[in-house]
């Protein structure tokens, strides 16, 4: 056979120049692919970093708020002791605030000057006096937030070198500000109002309290519906259901539901809950119901996974000693699956917490200046508050939006952290 001879006639030169070059090319291709992979991962992490860093840089100013301290004389001529709520607090605050500068204010300057103080100051003083009417006739020291442009100035976010017409504070305001700063009247404490105030049109007063309470109520409703229903459905499908067309249909349905775009759930909530059943618009009740329908598939899927992880030997042992199938599930399988179910529940709720689109459609993006008192009252939620603030033109809302996002992400991290902790502490290996 001629072909047997060929190795002798044409000996393959494994270590020749051509092969060496070829080998180098192949290894270079290998390193290239590896490099692409590293570059891809690097890009992803870089993008995440840019996202987080830009949010933190933008959001950090909102965690402090410039305040100004001055003395007001609660003039008995302007506030009556019988009805302290209706006094002329605007005038009182103005007079006190004017005391901070030595210069006599002309009539024209008055407006500019008083725009430096937050418009909420008069209401804050009113609440203080209503709470404690003995202050009438006394001179008290108060600390009230600056208006947003002065807050930006104090935080160094406004460049003094820009022409006066292009910045939001005038030269005069800067001069007054410098005088106040020199006298030590300006402070920058932690912005507790961000957590304890409800929404406001004025950035220096706006806070997240309403959104936090609204999110809490909505999540509670979501949990109360989706947890029992999800666990019951999962237990049935995993432990009891026969394999037939009906249960197949349910399974396919659940998988499809998990992939339905969230905005479609909003449409469902709008058409069914609001228009058909006439439930109150903007309420955490409807928000929670819509979120629970979205969370339900997640809940069922994670519960089934947790039930599957319980080894069959547990079931067989319980059946072996004469337990009924219900007893097997209730007394043995479910308790063992609880850690997994809880972990999944927390993750599902964390997803629901970040969900925005369906809440927009049922009106949870309304401008509401007080925290809701119950699940049927109009409310906003954290993500919709972010959406509202992101739309607001005032400079101060940019930092507040970032700060609200940081709070939202903080909650998500805590929830996921708890889930991871539970998984590590409670999950058992068989």
């Amino acid at each position: 056979m001629a072909s047997m001879q060929s190795p002798q006639t044409a000996k393959f030169d494994w270590f020749g120049k051509a092969q060496e070059a070829r080998r180098r090319r192949r290894h270079a291709a290998d390193r290239r692919l590896q490099f692409y992979g590293i570059a891809a991962i690097g890009t992803a992490i870089l993008l995440l970093g840019v996202l987080l860093v830009s949010l933190m840089m933008n959001g950090s100013p909102a965690f402090t708020q410039s305040h100004v301290t001055f003395q007001v004389f609660v003039d008995p001529a302007k506030v009556e002791a019988e009805d302290p709520g209706s006094g002329d607090f605007r005038g009182i605050v103005r007079r006190g605030f004017e005391g901070l500068v030595s210069q006599e204010l002309s009539r024209r300057d008055g407006r500019d000057f008083h725009d430096m103080l937050s418009r909420g100051a008069q209401y804050m003083l009113r609440d203080t006096v209503v709470e404690n009417p003995r202050l009438i006739g006394q001179t008290i020291t108060v600390t009230y937030p600056f208006a947003d442009p002065m807050d930006q100035l104090h935080k160094g976010l406004i460049d003094r070198d820009t022409p006066e017409s292009q910045r939001r504070v005038s030269d005069k305001q800067i001069a007054w500000y410098d005088e106040m700063a020199a006298s030590g009247a300006i402070s920058k404490p932690f912005n507790w109002a961000l957590f304890f105030n409800a929404d406001s049109r004025f950035p220096e007063l706006a806070g997240l309290a309403g959104a936090l309470v609204g999110s809490f109520y909505a999540l509670m409703v979501c949990f109360l519906i989706s947890f029992p229903v999800g666990v019951a459905a999962a237990v049935y499908l995993e432990e009891f259901a026969p394999r037939n067309r009906a249960t197949d249909l349910i399974e396919v349905n659940i998988n499809n539901l998990a992939a339905v775009p969230s905005v479609v759930f909003g449409l469902l909530g709008l058409a069914v809950f609001l228009n058909f059943f006439g439930l109150p618009r903007s309420s955490p009740l409807v928000g929670g119901m819509v979120l629970s329908l979205m969370t339900l598939p997640t809940m069922i899927i994670v519960t089934r996974a947790a039930l599957k992880a319980v080894p069959p030997s547990i079931r067989e042992a319980a059946l072996g000693v004469g337990a009924s199938r219900h007893q097997v599930v209730m007394h043995h399988v479910l308790p063992l699956a609880i850690p997994g179910i809880l972990t999944g529940t927390i993750i599902g709720l964390a997803q629901a917490l970040g969900e925005t689109a369906p809440l927009l459609l049922i009106g949870m993006n309304a401008f509401i200046t007080s925290a809701p008192g119950g699940i049927t009252e109009p409310a906003t939620a954290l993500p919709t508050q972010v959406f509202i603030w992101a739309d607001s033109p005032e400079r101060g809302f940019v930092s507040r939006t970032s700060a609200a996002i940081l709070v939202l992400i903080g909650f998500l991290i805590v929830m996921n952290g708890v889930a991871v902790f539970l998984r590590q502490r409670l999950e058992r290996k068989w």
């Binding site: 996202l51 689109a357 992101a390 992400i409």
Partner: protein, 459 residues
Amino acid sequence: MLSTTFILLIAISLASFILGRYRIVRLAAQANAAAHSLPSYHGSFVALWIGVPCLLFVLVWAALEPVILDAALLASLPPEQLQGLLQGEENLLLAEIRSVSRGLVFGEPDPFVVEAAARLNAWKAVASWSMLAASLGLAAAILFVSYRRIALHFRARQAVERILSGLMVTCSVLAILVTLGIVSSLLFEAFRFFERVPVSEFLFGLNWEPQIPIRADQVAGSGAFGAIPVFMGTLLIAAIAMLVATPIGLFAAIYLAEYANSRVRAIVKPIMEILAGIPTVVYGFFAVLVVAPALREAGNSLGLDVAPNSALAAGSVMGIMILPFISSLSDDALAAVPRSLREGSYAMGATKAETIRNVLLPAALPGIVGGVLLAVSRAIGETMIVVMAAGLIATLTVNPADSVTTVTVQIVTLLIGDTEFDNPKTLAAFALGLLLFVITLFLNVLALKIVQKYREKYD
């Protein structure tokens, strides 16, 4: 009143558990024999029989009460006030009466409104007391019947288990009901839309201007409803997102699956998952705050005119959002390729890159394609990023620097604010929603079919 009723019913339910348990224990002691079921089953039997129907009854009552009250209220209003009112105006009137009855008075309501509000409040009081009475009566009746069924030979355990099974089946069926609710509400409202705007105009029209009523003789008299530009915009943004996410996700998955050691995997995978866990409203803000201005500046320095809310900004940020999705699904697909194929390839002297290119990728391709399809469906259905970062005007363009709008943006903008349900503008949102639902459903089913088919190959 509703929460009081709930709490009362739950308390009665718990009390009847104790009652039922006590009765069987006493019966057993009297007869000096063992009952068929454990005492707690007898208790649970009574408690479940009372709790479930009564709570359902209250829920149904609470759902129907406003509907019935509204109808009664309309009927009780003086007919001259209702004359010539459209459906929407009637609803407005009802809403006004309701807010007056809750004590929220804006301006000077008409005297007949104040009267109606007082009437409504009286009815509400009657209704809530009768709800309480009816549910308590129901509970008592059931207690009477079920209490008498408790006996030594009564198979309480089986009865309880039947009830529990019934409850569990109901919960499972709920998934189907939700789907039915979605489909029927979308179909119903979309049908009302198509009564006013022909389907052919919606599907093939090239002009989308839902906000502007132009002239009276135009179709539906208010704007144009051709969905093609909206879908083009959706596809453009989704395509940009996929162009960003697919290569990065795929290369990251290849590296993680084949090259990285376990320590790198343990660190990198959770970091990638953080990207998936960030709420989309955050991505939207990021796009508006950082990406869009940066792209605009870059475009300006190159002499290009980039719109402030360009498709590129929305699409690339959406790409970041779906990146972890693609990488984890591709990772799964690569990991599912059996070791023997890899080892066979290495044994032939192939390098890792050659193995990946010629063996692993072809084998994992169906899984990867399935993952990409799922990601496309996500990109099409994603709302917040585009609501915040994409435009509102539907333009028929493929230029990524232009501003385009998407289906989800239109749905949200059409329905935010006043929602009167008898004009084509708001109903159009449901027609868009129906199309969105059908398209994403089709993509998801297709992707799942591909993934499943591929799985069977190696198992």
